[in-house]
């Protein structure tokens, strides 16, 4: 305790953040009790269901793309507004528009409908990776929806040439 007391608080906070980022979020070992909706991260039950999630091992080692399909089981349209990732300092939603991938302010999921992020259509781009991403690891995401609020998602890292998992409707 004495040792901790002598350390400046910002440094302690920074170290804790780095430890959380490396050990917890990247490896998928985030304490489940910490999240409120974390009972079944792969396919959480609730108004919004996410399936077929994966991150392809980056061939460039610089940035990675995550893909998944979102199902809206409610009678009201919702919007995925922001995404945070445990694998890198920056995560952004990219959606194909007019022939190019562009930063998107939000991905709409129609009532009783779905929206898919798939190669060529859209992805979550993870930049400033904390470390290498290899098959067998998993990456945690926090998705924020305009209506449904926050949802924790765990996506496996698959090999560069591995087939993508198939999304299953709830």
């Amino acid at each position: 305790m004495d040792a901790v007391k002598r350390l400046p608080l910002p440094l302690v906070a920074a170290v804790l953040l780095i430890v959380a980022g490396l050990a917890g979020l990247v490896r998928g070992a985030i304490p489940q009790a910490a999240g409120t909706d974390a009972a079944a991260p792969a396919v959480p039950r609730g108004p919004i269901v996410v399936s077929g999630a994966y991150v392809r091992e980056p061939a460039n080692g610089i940035n990675a793309a995550a893909y998944f399909t979102i199902y809206n089981t409610t009678g009201v349209a919702d919007v995925l507004t922001t995404v945070q990732s445990g694998a890198g300092a920056q995560a952004s939603l990219h959606v194909e528009s007019s022939g190019a991938m562009r930063n998107s302010a939000g991905l709409s999921i129609p009532a009783q409908g779905s929206a898919a992020l798939s190669p060529g259509k859209g992805h979550v781009m993870i930049e400033k990776l904390y470390g290498p991403l290899k098959p067998g690891q998993s990456v945690n995401f926090q998705l924020t929806f305009a209506k449904a609020g926050q949802l924790l998602l765990t996506a496996p890292v698959i090999a560069v040439t591995a087939p993508a998992p198939i999304a299953v409707a709830p």
Partner: protein, 218 residues
Amino acid sequence: MSRPRAAAAVLAVLAVLSVAGCGSDGSTGPSSTATEVRGELNDHTDSTYQGLALTPPRPRPQFTLTDTAGREFRFGAETAGKPTLLFFGYTTCPDVCPTTLADIANGLRQVPEEVRKQTQVVFVTTDVKRDTAAVIKSYLAKFDPGLPNRFIGLRGTQSEIDAAQVAAHVTLAEDEGRTHSSQVLLYGTDDYARVAFLQSNNEAAQVAHDLPLVADIK
């Protein structure tokens, strides 16, 4: 509309549809139906091929770039007579480029050995600044393990890369190479491309189906 004009119009539409999707310009744009149209065009437009049939066929282009060993690579001469898959992209692309190269590799793994042995895969970078020889080499090595022919990576000056794209009749890349054509052109043993592939979840199967059709099978 006269025939040449009609053909030009079709080419123009295809060019617009095939500009790809790795670019990120940081802005939000209006939604587009291009994705849906592209998805439909990519399947069974010609009963012979499962990829996107090219009418008229495009001759194998002549352009000279530099390979990852620093040697001059004359595309037309060095790939002549061989089934060749040509793709323009860049290594820091997170989405379309790695998925497309993985689809090519997976398609190649499904064809007969004699077809696989003949086939050359050529990747031309559109990112002149960042994609050095070493970067391209290590990038391509993620995709081609176990295949008889290594993927060939080519680079050049901006004007050389532009000339190569013009010669191959693909849309010129923009935004430092990040918005680029997503077409994979397949040249056959007769040195014409009659089919191209666009990103879809069926791309590997399309490559596997169409590649033997343009190869030399005894």
